[in-house]
Symmetry: C2
Subunit: 463 residues, 2 copies
């Protein structure tokens, strides 16, 4: 099948990328120009994370010369975008940005420091720059900020034939990237309906759009969060969703390819939040930035740890009598932490997918509590059995096994419950449940677990 590009598997990609990286480092520019001409911009963007700084600079220069830098820039990760802007002359950056769609430029500019942004906006000038300035005014991560101001809209009275003619007249440059919907608007640019290109092709030439369009359509407001936009497009299987302002005027569209990026970005963010690395840029190579993003989240865990030191301090007298009590601290903490993480992950993900809402609190709480009780019984019996046959603990007869079995049972039950309550509570008070789930859940569970264990020990072993 000559002339066709067959998508290769990830492993073949790896090999190809290594080859390219070597060519760049050897400055084999003629070969590279050939490869660049044949490679999709999204694939070129994937070379960057593997390159050393000098090699990146050479590739930037090469891509500018080949007029490919604009396309590639849309697909770069934020660390590489910053590098490009920082080490390239502003006039050159502006030239590159001028070749790009307004929504992509907006996304790039919004990540830059204020002074860079203003300078570049000045240098870009022209019609596009007005669009960009307008887009930059919307709050980040809203429909307004991610929409494309390029859409195809016509008045209600237009006929199918006239509409087809209009599409024919559009040059490739003016054409919105994914135009398969024709929007219908009134004289104030208020959205009235939508029809698909297919409907246009299938109808009689003289039919006015008014008779073809559906006016039962899904729209989003400029200030809606990007997750809501993504959820709507995904749920209703749309290819694009029109964005309207507060008075119902059509101001842009969010297309499904951008929605795919939003979904991936939101998922990454959820996972990082749950691991307690909220605002980390995973593409950054900087050890210092990596450390700074992770430091504050570990404080929750540190604070909980100090509390545990204090709690165990209270029971010092008991520990001094039966030192082996300490031997069970790790297993009680570990089992509690793991079952709690399971519960909170299930809840956070169910909330994100819309499977579970605030109204379901009691139902999911009951399910997780019961699961915790069942698993706690299982592992309580196992641990009690183990403790009663282990030689080190023989001298405490049935009491120590009973204490550890009870401790792990109670702790797993509490952990599953806490792992459910915390994200549900965050959801209710409108904080992203993923934010605090990770560090909060594990820390709370550790502290409660330690306290319960020593309390049980005190009751049964030292009345």
């Amino acid at each position: 099948m000559e002339g066709q590009t067959i998508i290769t598997t990830h492993d073949v990609d790896e090999l190809f990328i290594s080859t390219v990286v070597r060519l760049i480092q050897r400055r084999a520019f003629p070969n590279l120009r050939n490869i660049i001409a044949k490679t999709h911009s999204a694939d070129i963007a994937r070379w960057f994370p593997r390159l050393r700084p000098e090699a990146k600079s050479s590739l930037f220069t090469l891509l500018i010369e080949e007029n490919r830098m604009g396309e590639v820039l849309c697909d770069l990760n934020s660390a590489d975008i910053s590098e490009f802007v920082e080490e390239t002359e502003s006039v050159v950056v502006a030239n590159v940005l001028r070749t790009m769609p307004a929504d992509d430029v907006t996304r790039i500019l919004s990540e830059l420091p204020e002074e860079n942004k203003a300078e570049l906006l000045n240098l870009i000038e022209g019609e596009n720059s007005e669009d960009i300035e307008r887009l930059l005014e919307y709050e980040e991560r809203t429909a307004g900020a991610i929409m494309s101001p390029n859409y195809f809209a016509l008045p209600e009275e237009t006929t199918a034939a006239e509409a087809t003619e209009k599409i024919r007249e559009l040059s490739e440059v003016e054409m919105p990237p994914i135009t398969f919907y024709v929007y219908v608007v009134d004289e104030d640019n208020k959205l009235k309906g939508v029809l698909s290109l297919r409907q246009l092709v299938q109808t009689k030439p003289g039919t006015p759009l008014k008779n073809l369009m559906t006016s039962h359509l899904y729209t989003v407001h400029t200030d809606m969060p990007q997750e809501t936009v993504a959820r709507a497009v995904a749920r209703y299987n749309l290819l694009a969703i029109p964005v309207i302002n507060s008075i119902g005027q059509l101001v842009g569209v969010v297309t499904i390819d951008d929605v795919v990026d939003v979904i991936r970005e939101e998922n990454t963010e959820d996972m990082l939040k749950m691991a307690g690395t909220g605002d980390l840029d995973i593409t950054s190579r900087s050890i210092f930035r990596n450390t700074r993003a992770r430091l504050p989240w570990l404080l929750a865990s540190f604070g909980g740890g100090l509390l545990a030191v204090y709690i165990i301090g209270i029971f010092e007298a008991q520990l001094q009598q039966i030192a082996v009590l300490a031997a069970f601290i790790p297993i009680i903490m570990g089992m509690g932490g793991n079952i709690g993480t399971q519960s909170s992950t299930i809840i956070v993900r169910s909330i994100a997918l819309g499977e579970v809402g605030v109204k379901d609190t009691w139902r999911v709480l009951w399910r997780e509590f019961s699961t915790g009780a069942l698993l706690g019984t299982t592992y309580g019996v196992l641990l009690g059995g183990f403790a009663s046959i282990f030689p080190l603990f023989r001298e405490y007869a049935w009491k120590l096994p009973l204490v550890v079995a009870l401790a792990i049972f109670v702790n797993m039950m509490i952990a599953a419950t806490v792992g459910t309550i915390i994200p549900m509570f965050f959801k209710r008070i409108r904080i992203d449940p993923a934010v605090a789930t990770g560090p909060f859940v594990t820390t709370a569970i550790d502290v409660i677990g330690i306290f319960t264990y020593f309390l049980l020990a005190k009751i049964f072993l030292f009345k």
Copy 2:
């Protein structure tokens, strides 16, 4: 803006769902029929997780009567699909399935037990059932299993006018759900190229497709994993990707709306795997199934905990002398566990997004190791400072603070490294890095942390 449906935010959804749930439970069927007529099938599907079993049955019956069950079934979660099939007569289920696209039927059948599947296939009969049987033969989660066998393909010599005419002739029923691409094939149905509906509209009527099409196109093979398909569609901003068999014949297309579902499904799976609840169906209400899915993953943690009991047992003599040593076990475990989870989440997600490959092992290992060392130094100093002012530990002078500071430093450094090495190693031996990252990483880190701590204590406090 009358007659238009404006997408509402999630919270308003919640309120609406509660109202509907009450109507169903009150068996207010006339009202419900009205609401059903006006509601998108994807929204109807979202009522189910909130309903009790009897209410579900009523809603199933109502939807069958209103001829909406087919659409809604596509959007139900797997627990609700099973319930529908289990408690509805096979003839009725087959009637519903007959109204659905072949790829959706395939997805539903592939989740059912063998005998149900065979019975239903028999009952469906007809042309569609051949498509379905063919699709069922592909391995689950491959391009073949998720593709739609409905696509629009024409011979190379067809002119634009003829192609437009063909599209006009297609009835709504025969029309593939998202047809914006026209595929061009030779007499053996081998894929030759592709053009968009827009190109068709923009060209002169007499132009043959051969001159319009691009033959530089992305395709996937029937046996490619669905993640690879999703990655390709997302990376190259496609609306659909053609699926070809081993001899290059076009056999189906995967459209972007299905890709969105795959991305969400794969992300959910990764999160659950990392939390150690690998094969859990988060939509299931069954406490027993929930417990069974989570039990085995907790075994890793249990085994690690027993190892910790053994290790601490070795140091029993030291513990008996200085019982307060036990007070620092939780903080050392907690800090190690949290930094390790941070590292492994960052690595697993970077691998999933294609930002990091096996070739980058040394680079990311160095970054995470250094981050661990920096964070370890910070929290080591903090904990050492704390231990030296806390009254309980005064009697051990500078030695205990030194031991705990060193222990937390070493442990955080090791934890960040282990959290990086384990997923990278799993990636290299071609096991999904998400699978074992959660339980393996935390358990390994706990055991190493406890051992290091007591070893340091023995060296410095009891030479």
